[in-house]
């Protein structure tokens, strides 16, 4: 089973509709371009980090978790920027990036997958004239989430079988037999969908 980034809770941000949080995130992103005062940026970063505890009840661990994912990049930016453009420019870029990443992660931490998917479905409805089918997109998202553990299990089975036969199992030697089984699995799933009237759903109004 796959788990999302969502951390259950009942805080102000958890109860805030996902669509509102996403719009706020876009506004923060646009607003950040206009701010070039380092002191103001630092203050904003503190506010965003503090809102993890104050408005979401998450504490500081998720802030670090979000930062850790870009740590290598941050080091690279500091190195390149400090050498080429000076320390202040480096600090500005890093702080601006941290604000954006922390805000974006905060939305993910406080929004359920189902709520985010509902926003996406509503957003995609605008593209219906272009042939986009929102309900079908939602179905494909659910199918992907189901297929990840299924494919992982196939990959593990193949590697276990190879180890049992004394083959030195690696990604390279396992991928052809695994993919053959994954394709057969995909055929079985599409036959099952067809048998349940998926193609008729395709043309239904």
């Amino acid at each position: 089973m796959i788990t999302g980034l969502y951390i259950p809770g009942d805080s102000l941000l958890h109860r805030c509709p996902a669509g509102v949080k996403l719009i706020a995130l876009v506004l923060i992103g646009i607003g950040l371009i206009a701010i070039d005062n380092l002191f103001l940026l630092c203050a904003l970063a503190v506010v965003v980090a503090a809102s993890y505890s104050a408005f979401a009840g998450l504490g500081v661990a998720p802030v670090w978790q979000a930062t850790r994912a870009v740590l290598v990049w941050l080091a690279l930016i500091v190195l390149a920027q400090a050498l080429l453009a000076g320390v202040e420019a480096a600090a500005e870029t890093v702080v601006r990036l941290l604000i954006l990443i922390w805000s974006a992660a905060l939305v993910s931490y406080t929004s359920r997958l189902s709520d985010m998917a509902a926003v996406l479905e509503r957003g995609l409805a605008a593209f219906k004239p272009l042939g986009v089918q929102p309900e079908k997109t939602a179905f494909m998202i659910a199918l992907t989430l189901r297929l990840v553990p299924a494919i992982f299990a196939i990959a593990r089975d193949v590697r276990d079988a190879q180890r049992a036969r004394g083959v030195d199992a690696s990604v390279v030697t396992a991928i052809v037999p695994a993919l053959t089984r994954i394709m057969a699995h995909a055929d079985a799933v599409s036959d099952a969908l067809t048998a349940r009237g998926y193609e008729r759903w395709d043309t239904a109004p």
Partner: protein, 177 residues
């Protein structure tokens, strides 16, 4: 879109996610850990063609954006689209599409490998490097230099993806993009 198209798109989105979950491939002389994930971009283009391959990558990015950490290293959520590597991610659907376009009708290894190089590496880097430069405020050449660290690993992945595609098209003839 038929049931088979739908399932193949979701299958390659999920496969690319699983490639990111597998332990990283050790590549000599390269300090950064190389995961097999970007091989999914090439495989999607080679195996299910440009349109479905591109949509598979788009679907994966959509699922990631919704808050499921399916990228290598357990990364996910909206934050990955705010980070410096966002450009690379945007390059995935385009890269898979271009790989599929160039690989159309090809069966021998050389054109398939060339398709992987152009789509899976060329297009992805062309989207990724300006993204790094833009978000981190460093110059494009510096960003390109930093990206060069991933090149040996990506070349190996292109080779593996080609070998897999050649073998699999023989093992599974029903699959013609």
């Amino acid at each position: 879109m038929t049931a088979r198209d739908t399932v193949l798109i979701a299958t390659f989105a999920a496969l690319t996610a699983v490639l990111g979950l597998l332990p990283p491939l050790p590549v000599p002389l390269v300090p950064v850990p190389i995961t097999a994930q970007t091989m999914g971009v090439m495989l999607a283009g080679l195996m299910i063609g440009p349109r479905r391959g591109g949509l598979a990558m788009l679907l994966l990015l959509g699922v990631v954006a919704l808050g499921i950490p399916l990228l290598a290293g357990g990364r996910g959520g909206l934050a990955v689209f705010a980070g410096p590597s966002a450009g690379y991610l945007i390059g995935w659907p385009i890269g898979a599409f271009v790989t599929g376009m160039l690989a159309r009708g090809a069966t021998s290894p050389a054109p398939l490998f060339a398709a992987c190089l152009a789509g899976g590496i060329g297009v992805v880097y062309a989207c990724g490097i300006p993204g790094v430069a833009l978000i981190s405020g460093i110059s494009v050449p510096t960003a390109a230099l930093a990206s060069a660290a991933f090149l040996p690993g990506d070349l190996i992945k292109a080779g593996v993806a080609t070998a897999v595609a050649v073998t699999l098209r023989r093992a599974y003839p029903r699959l013609t993009p």
